[in-house]
Symmetry: C2
């Protein structure tokens, strides 16, 4: 049985896109490392040499592979995986990938935007602690994090070693409570020129934007609101979905 619709009108660009999608994830999953050989890929995908070349051009533009005459095609590196199911700081998450260090650009007390104050349930006119960090994995930027903290935890936090410690770890240490959960939203956006310079990517590069409202203790008090720009050539996000979800739903 062979049902085909529109397959006659199919363009090489369509096939290259399919190959690039499957290959991108194969690289992410560590199934392809080191050199990639066009002939092997033609066999694996049942595709023409030109289709494979177009697919490799897509992945090269994303910074996932290097291509050069004579040297051939190489996987630059495997992306680090960041889970959206379990609440972990970047340093905890990337423990096996290398050394995480934070370049702290701002750490201050300020009047937050009204929307931030509402979500952190701050009193009218209350200040919040604001921290802006570039996070580096083995000295290369991975993310640009904007963090708003409730003042009772954020002010003591500023006296700790925020260059080398996850905010999550410090929040638990200072409060003596466990973090509870976080509500996260994920979007994609093109890097504005200034963010691109900070993250050392070309302007316009597709970045992941992660907003995360984290709550603390058995009452799930919201304490930490973050806006994170992630380099999508270095990090991928992961989540498990259940058909019949029984996961608790916070009303943060």
């Amino acid at each position: 049985m062979q049902i085909r619709s529109d397959i006659g009108r199919r363009l090489r660009a369509d096939d290259a896109r399919v190959v690039s999608d499957v290959l991108r994830r194969g690289i992410d999953r560590g199934e392809h490392t080191g050199s990639l050989h066009e002939r092997n890929l033609c066999a694996e995908f049942g595709a023409s040499r030109n289709t494979i070349r177009d697919a490799l051009a897509i992945l090269a533009a994303e910074g996932l592979i290097d291509r050069a005459p004579r040297v051939g095609t190489h996987v630059v590196r495997r992306k680090a995986e960041h889970g959206l199911d379990a609440l972990r700081g970047l340093k905890e998450t990337l423990r096996d990938h290398g050394e995480v260090r934070n370049e702290v650009r701002v750490a201050t007390l300020l009047r937050p935007p009204a929307a931030v104050a509402r979500r952190l349930r701050l009193d009218a006119g209350a200040d919040a602690v604001y921290i802006e960090r570039i996070r580096l994995l083995d000295d290369e930027p991975v993310s640009l994090d904007l963090t708003y903290l409730v003042p009772d935890l954020g002010i003591p936090l500023l006296t700790h070693d925020i260059e080398n410690t996850d905010v999550f770890t410090l929040l638990e240490e200072i409060s003596g409570q466990r973090l509870h959960s976080a509500r996260q939203s994920v979007e994609a956006a093109n890097a504005d020129p200034h963010s691109a310079a900070n993250l050392d990517v070309p302007p316009g590069s597709a970045l992941l934007l992660l907003e995360r409202l984290t709550s603390l203790g058995p009452e799930a008090r919201p304490v930490d609101l973050e806006y994170i720009r992630l380099r999508s050539d270095r990090i991928s996000l992961h989540a498990t979905a259940l058909r019949d979800t029984t996961a608790p739903r916070e009303t943060l």
Copy 2:
């Protein structure tokens, strides 16, 4: 107490980025609809008019707001939210946002790439059903979905109304079983020119890439592997993280 580091070196671009991040999420959450007034935003963010204008320019470039002389600044529309915690088809998810329709570009039986066959646990040399769809919400493209299905379910599925029905719904109908769960990965990438044309966005636009391996029945048999490109100006993804996760972890 006022701790500041590098605040003197701070650029307007930094402040504009902060405003754009908070405002983007405010628009997503429906806190800003209709007209945006620069003067109100200056007050809300404690920012200068020029900073607000730079922030609005970022959001205009992302297609979230329209700006025109005399007419002013308007929110184009609110993004639809797609949950990563509960396994739902697009039509189920967007029920309250409008009418979902699928433009089926390919629906065929083919030899899948080796990596796809492995993940669907297909026998060596077995075919899979491949479906390529542009998914439209109120006649505007939202996503481009590549779907590989195991043949025992995929072949009967091809005889159903895949223009107007979620694949998830059909898989449950045909198998007589409930879907179990899915493992999902999220990345961002710039739209290649051909994907951009299909999704009606400018080439290079940041898209969300969602890979989803869905399993069926109490044995959690993998049956459906999808590679989905989502327009990030129309959809945002959402997930809850728990500090001490007890969610079941499939080994798909």
